[in-house]
Structure formats: structure tokens, C-alpha cells
Subunit: 346 residues, 3 copies
């Protein structure tokens, strides 16, 4: 991969306009924050809070939105400077790993089917009847059980586990140590204590899904646990059996969803949020950090607190919690005053 570009090349590749005074021949070797960038690095301004840094930055060039164009000599103009910056990063990002081909130190079952250009690192295991789409990369220590189906362009980072029957759409990324298809937590009291309910379903992920490091997604009891196209899960997230997640949802670190709950599209769970089982959460809903959800949620609702409540209520009520001792003493004072008044009345 080419690792340096002129400013003009970057503009052309991303469809951005060069600022009027910009020197298109400037070589750019990397990207950095306004604070840390050097004279051959490209930076960006997105949050207007940081605009004063335009006066002090040593960055060789800066991606800005048109209204800031005049403030920077070597400007690249973008309507959405943050998005443009994200795309520039792809030019400079070095992919993980340098291996290609299929290592003789991997175990690839003879009945697995690997399409063109699949990379399999040492110590990866691929089971029978599993198919891996073109260009996918399986890192060391991954376990991909039997009857899995991976679309093209998937990245399965080290020590990820895909149990039997797991399906991944095109371009899906599994961060290290994530587990897909572990048994759901299903037990029933019997005469001999607690009996396991066999979990005979699977896990099915759409296209361009991303699963965070050490995140766990349980197989369904029956049918499938489903994560829709473009949804992104952070690290250490727990997804129970038979959960269904729509498209373009964002689940932050350490959030968890109990069995059979269903999320619409573009739902956001903040960090450490927890959802009970068998709920329906409408599209566009937002569940705040550490919020505990035990009821259905309408489209677009924004909730916080545990148990959860509308976020506006949460903000107003949570500031009163530290004031409870004061409220308590005001109640006592009122009681005494009223008693005094009442005794006077008599």
C-alpha cells in the first residue's frame, strides 16, 4: 500500500476541493490531531470548539468545512470534515498482519470450501462444510466450526470463535477473542436440579457488521440470533439467545441484551446498559449509560437511569438524588412547623 500522497492526490481520491491558496504538491506522510500534527501531516477540524487550534497547529494541511476555509492556507474543503477525515485515514491505515496464503500450520478440513484469495494463518481451525468468501482473512487461533458461511472480505481476528452454523455477511469484522454461537443460557428446573435446554439454533450476522473484542453472541435456542447489516458492537458486549438486532445499531462496551429481545434499526445502547429479555425496542431509540431497561420502547425514545425513564426525566430527577437528605429535613421541618401551628390553633 502506498503510504504517502500529495495533497492534490488526496483531494482527488476523496472528491474534496483544494483551498484557493493550497499547495497541491505538498507531500503528506500521515494524519494526526491539530495538536500533534507536523508539517507533512494532514489534520482536520470538526468540532468548532477546537477552531482556535487552527492558529497554532503545525499541521501541513487541514480538512475544514467551507466556513473555515479562509483560516487555513493548505485547506481541503469538505461538507462533513469528520467523515472526510475518516476516509483519509483509510489511505494511511496499515492493515493488521502481513501473511498471505493458507498456512500449512492451519487445520482446514478437506470438506471446507475457501474461495479465491482467502488467507488462513497458522493455528486457525476451519471445520467441515464451512465456506469462506473471497479475500477473507482468518487470523491465528480462530476456531470456525462446521457448517459456517462467511461472506467475502471478512476479517476474523486472532482467537475469535465461530461455533457451528454461524453465518457472516460480506465485509463483517470480528475483533479478537469474540465468541459467536456459544450456547444460550437456557435451563429448566427438573427433579435432578437444573437441566440444560439444548440450544439447537445458530447465529447470523449481516453485511459490514463489526463485533468487538471478547464480545459474546449466543446461538438461538431454536432458529437464529440475528444482527442486521451495518450494526457495530463494541467490546465485552453480551447478546443472549434469540436476540434480534436491526440495521446500523451501535452497542457500546459492556452493554448486554437478554434473550429474545428485539431491537429495530439505528438503536444506540450506551456503555454498560442492560436490557431484560423479551422486550421490543423501536428504531432510533437510545438507551443511556448503565441504564436498565425492563419495558418496551417506542421508536426514537431516549431513555436513561435504572430502571430506565425518559432521559429528560432522568436528568431532572437524578440531580435531586444527592439532595434527598435536604428534602428529607425540609419535610421534617414542615411537619414540626405544622404541628406548632396546629397546636396554636387548638
Amino acid at each position: 500500500m502506498q503510504r504517502s500522497y500529495t495533497l492534490a492526490e488526496i483531494a482527488e481520491r476523496l472528491g474534496l476541493k483544494l483551498g484557493d491558496e493550497a499547495d497541491g504538491s505538498l507531500p503528506i506522510y500521515g494524519v494526526n490531531t491539530l495538536e500533534d500534527a507536523g508539517p507533512n501531516e494532514l489534520s482536520f477540524l470538526s468540532n468548532p470548539k477546537y477552531a482556535p487550534q487552527l492558529d497554532t497547529t503545525r499541521a501541513g494541511a487541514v480538512i475544514v468545512e467551507p466556513k473555515q476555509a479562509g483560516r487555513v492556507k493548505n485547506a481541503l474543503l469538505a461538507d462533513n470534515s469528520y467523515l472526510a477525515f475518516a476516509r483519509v485515514l483509510h489511505l494511511f491505515a496499515k492493515p493488521q498482519g502481513e501473511f498471505s496464503g493458507q498456512s500449512p500450520l492451519a487445520f482446514i478440513h478437506p470438506d471446507a470450501r475457501l474461495e479465491e484469495g482467502v488467507t488462513v494463518y497458522p493455528f486457525a481451525f476451519i471445520g467441515p462444510r464451512t465456506t469462506v468468501g473471497a479475500g477473507s482473512i482468518i487470523f491465528p487461533g480462530c476456531y470456525i466450526g462446521e457448517d459456517c458461511a462467511l461472506g467475502p472480505g471478512c476479517l476474523i481476528y486472532p482467537n475469535a470463535v465461530l461455533m457451528a452454523g454461524t453465518k457472516l455477511g460480506r465485509g463483517t469484522i470480528i475483533q479478537p477473542g469474540a465468541v459467536l454461537g456459544s450456547d444460550g443460557f437456557g435451563f429448566v428446573p427438573g427433579e435432578k436440579g437444573i437441566e440444560k435446554i439444548p440450544q439447537i439454533g445458530t447465529v447470523s450476522l449481516g453485511e459490514n457488521v463489526e463485533i468487538g473484542a471478547n464480545t459474546t453472541v449466543d446461538r438461538a435456542a431454536l432458529g437464529s440470533t440475528v444482527i442486521g447489516d451495518g450494526s457495530k458492537l463494541d467490546n465485552l458486549v453480551q447478546i443472549g439467545h434469540n436476540v434480534r438486532i436491526g440495521k446500523f445499531c451501535l452497542l457500546a462496551g459492556q452493554s448486554g441484551i437478554s434473550g429474545s429481545t428485539r431491537l429495530g434499526d439505528r438503536v444506540i445502547l450506551a456503555g454498560q446498559a442492560g436490557l431484560s429479555g423479551h422486550l421490543k425496542v423501536g428504531s432510533g431509540a437510545v438507551i443511556g449509560p448503565q441504564s436498565g431497561l425492563a419495558r418496551n420502547v417506542n421508536d426514537g425514545e431516549v431513555l436513561g437511569g435504572s430502571p430506565s425513564m425518559p432521559r429528560s426525566e432522568f436528568l431532572r430527577s437524578s440531580v435531586l438524588i444527592p439532595r434527598l437528605p435536604e428534602l428529607h429535613s425540609r419535610i421534617r421541618k414542615l411537619e414540626k412547623a405544622l404541628e406548632a401551628l396546629a397546636s396554636k390553633e387548638e
Copy 2:
């Protein structure tokens, strides 16, 4: 494993009664929900809420409790239909993995002792003096350190880690990526900052225990961290050093127990519940979702909230939290009214 049965065969294997009008010769190829089952699938009704689905289901046969017997032609009668269904699932569940024998790509220390019929997949590591009971299966990428003892019939799923000295009873299941016997979190302030307290104990699990994916159980500082027979831990659960868990406990996803806390039997922790260290939790206690426990708990107590309180109190008080702004303004109003009254009095 046989994968289809007649209805009569299923009845016989599980000791269930065929309904009066049932066709015992009906071939059953699988199991499914009332909503999704087809004409050669068996379903079940447990929750009466779903009874109306008996009229619309396409299921070939249904496990019902005697009181619903008249509503289904091909009925299997069970006193506990959910338990019966769980057992039927065992007939149709396909175990993970198809390998048998001991892979030449595994590392099995010459001083390890494997009983009859043990399966060891490629890239598994088994250390010296470790014993593995008959019929146990060790999946790829597992690490089983020295001096471990696994009972018969254990399932150690991919990339699970059992550090030195870990003991597992008969039939215990370790889901992928779980870690048993990592060092407990023990440190002491010294002149050079923080010093590590060596953790020289071990982890000991009873029979029929199940440990969820990426769950972690720390070795004891001294002695053993213990999980009793039949207890089940969900994914991403954290068990601190020297914790002792009784029999038939259920710990839901992302719950955590700090060091040296002891649980009786049949204790339930809901998702994301957190227990402080050095507590005693009595048998049959239930700790609600996201509840934070910092005190001892009597047998059978049911707690919720953070800090935890009796669940009944939690239900009554938590509905008032969103109403704090209203309560606050009522207090202010009272104060003003009283002031007005008092000034009138003067």
C-alpha cells in the same frame, strides 16, 4: 445420531403419554416454536399466554399439559411441558464438532493421563500430570495447564483456558474463551508502589457445572475458588478469588462477585448484578438485574436496586425517582403556603 423419530418413539423415550387422537406413526424431523413449526416438527405450549397459537400453528404435534389435551390432535401429554420439551431437544441436538481421537496437531504432555474415548482437537495444549476423564472433548485452542483434573464427559469448548491445578467434576461444560484459574486481583501497597500478592490457590468446579463464554474465574489466593454441583454461569461473568458458590446457582450475563464472597445453594444473580467482597448470601436468595450488593443476605431474600434493598421496596421506591422533581415542587409549595399561613398568624 438418529435425527428423526415417530411421535410414538418420542413418547416412549421420554415417558410421555400420546393424546387420544394422536397419530403415533407421524415422523418428526425437528422441533420449533408454535409460530414457526411445520407439519413434521414438534412444538410445545408452556406459557398459557401462547395458548391461542394452538389454533393457528402448523406444527405436526405439540407437547401440552393435560388441561390443554383436548385442543390438539397430535398431542404429547406432559405434566411439565417445558421440561419435556427441553428433553426432546436432546434427541435433535447435534453436538458441536465432528472430530474424534487425539489430533497429532495437539500438544499432549507425555505425563498427562487421558482416559478412554477422550477427544483432543488440533492446537489444544494439555500439560503434565493432568488427567482427563473418559469421553471428555477438548476443542481447538484450549489450554489445560499442569496438574488439572477433569472428570468424565466434560466439554471444553474452543480457546477455553484452565490454568494449573483446575479441577472439573463430571459432565462440566466450559463455553468458548472462558478462563479458569487466572490470578486473583491481589495487591498490597509497598515501598515500590503496588506489590503483587502471589495467588497460590486453585479453582475447583463440581459436577454438571456450566461456565459461559469469556467468563473468568480467578484462582484463590490460598485454598480454592469453588463452584458447586449443577451451578450455571452465563457469559462474561467475573468470579473473584476465594469466592465459594453453592449448588444449582444461576448467574446471568455480566454479573460479578468480588473476592471471598460466599453463595449458598440455588442463588440467582440477574444480569449485571454486582456483589462486594467478603459477603454471605443465603440459599435461595435472588439478586435483581444491575443490583449492587454490599451486605449479607438471608436465605430466600429477594433484592433489587443499587445499593440493593428488598425487591418490594425497590419496586415501590423506584417508581418515585422520576417523580422527584414533582415531590420537590410540592415541598416548595408547602413551604410557601406554610410561610403565608404563619405570617397571617402573626
Copy 3:
């Protein structure tokens, strides 16, 4: 390693004083609690609460502080008995694993550079241009990507993952299954849904850091995610991209820190605490269990609750939460009484 010592040898090695009546020739084979220790085991008394056990313990010898010297025949005297005990444990602790050398079953890239006395177990992977310091031990199933730099004396336990460019200082310990350098959770809305922001930074850990089992530390978007010398992270902790943690911090199990938050030195996070992104937490601050932090914190502040508040406020206010129904009824009573009074007035 020698595994038994006379009491006099232990005193000498640790610079402790033998009690006046102590028998220095007593052979000590191990260490244990006062409750469980036998006649050839050494125990300790730190918490005065347990002092009565000095009368009943069967321990062969006990480490005590000078004020308790008279109560024990075979005493070892230490100003800080707990610290002394921690150090004694090092004499008896058996390190994990017995392998040495570099296994032919490992994959070590020819361009990796391993210093003297490095141990690499089977099924470990070490990428190109990575350096491993003298005496470090890499357990089975570890993945160490390209361009990593490990100081001397590191312990990388089974199935840990270090993605490209990760740096570890001298003596750092990575517990099993931990992941360093997974992609940060960075996404930006685009026309095609949600676009990934490439994460081109790295992870950098100081000396004597310890990372718990299945804990995850994301690589920075730009620059480095940093954990300072001597900081210790428990199991299942989540560290977001560009977080910076100072020296000698202690982060308990299942705590989490969102992107770009900075911790000073000696900060303590209790279990399941959660910190929002872009915060500054001063040195010596303490964040309580399950606390949710969404604001900056001064040096030495002690917080609890979610949202967090000063711990003293949290203690006073949280006891009032179960009493909210009572406070509510007292408000109603006041309202009625006042109404009655007011109507009388008229």
C-alpha cells in the same frame, strides 16, 4: 525452586525478626490462613478482627506485628504483616507452566527478535519485527502481531492477543484471553449507513502493569492508548481508544472507561464502575462500585452512585431511596393537613 524453608531462613530472606521464643529450625512447607494452617505452615495476622484466632490456630508459625508478639510462640515480626506475608508467598508460589525454550510447534517469524531465555510455548504466534525481552514467557495460543515490543520478564498467559505495535514495559503480566490493540469503537454516519474510522494508533503499557483475564484495551484512533507503570487491571475491564491511565492505578473487575478519558496516578475504580469519554480524573480519586461518572474529577475525590456524587452524599442519600414511599406519604399528609388548616382559616 526450593519449596521448604526453616523459619529462620524465611526470616533472613525477608529481613524479618524472629520472636523471642521462636524455634528458627522449624521447617515450613507452605502458607495458609490462620483457620486452615497446619503445624508446618506459616500464617499471618493483619486485620485485628482475627486476633482471637491466634489462640486457636494450628499454624506452625505466624507473621504478626510487634504489638501482637507476645501472643504467638513461633512469631515472625513485621511492621506490615500483610506486606510481609505477600512477600513470603513468593517463596512458595509455583509459577504457571513448566516448559522452557522455544517450541518447534510455535510460529516465530524469522524477523522477530527474541532476547536471551525467552520461552515460547506451542501454538504461540510472534509476528515480524517484534522484539521480546529477556526471560519473557509466551504461553500457548498467544498472538503477538508485527512491530510489538515486549520488555524483559513479561508473562503473556494463554490465548492473550497483542495486535500490531503493542508495547509492554519490563515485568508486565497479561492474564489469559486479554486483548490489547483491538480497534477502537470509532464510526461516523455516512451516506451508506455507518462508516468505520480506521484506528491507526497503538497500545502502550508501562512496567509492572498487569492486565486481567479477558480484559480489552483498544488501540488509539491516532497516537496511543496508554497505561502507566504499576497499574493493575482486573478481569473483563474495558479500556476505550486513546484512554490514558497514570501510574499505580487499580481498576476492579468489569469496570470500563470510554474513549479519550484520562486518569491520573493511583486512581481506583471499583467493580463495574463506568466512565464516560473525554473526562479527566485527578490523581488519587476513587470511583465506587457501579458508579457512573460523567464529569471531571479533582485529585483525591471519592465518588459513588450513578450518576456519581461525592461518596459521603451518596451514603446519606442512598439510604433515603428505599424510604421514598414514606417521604411521599408524609408530603401527602402535610398537604392534607395544610388544606384542613387553610379551610379552617377561611
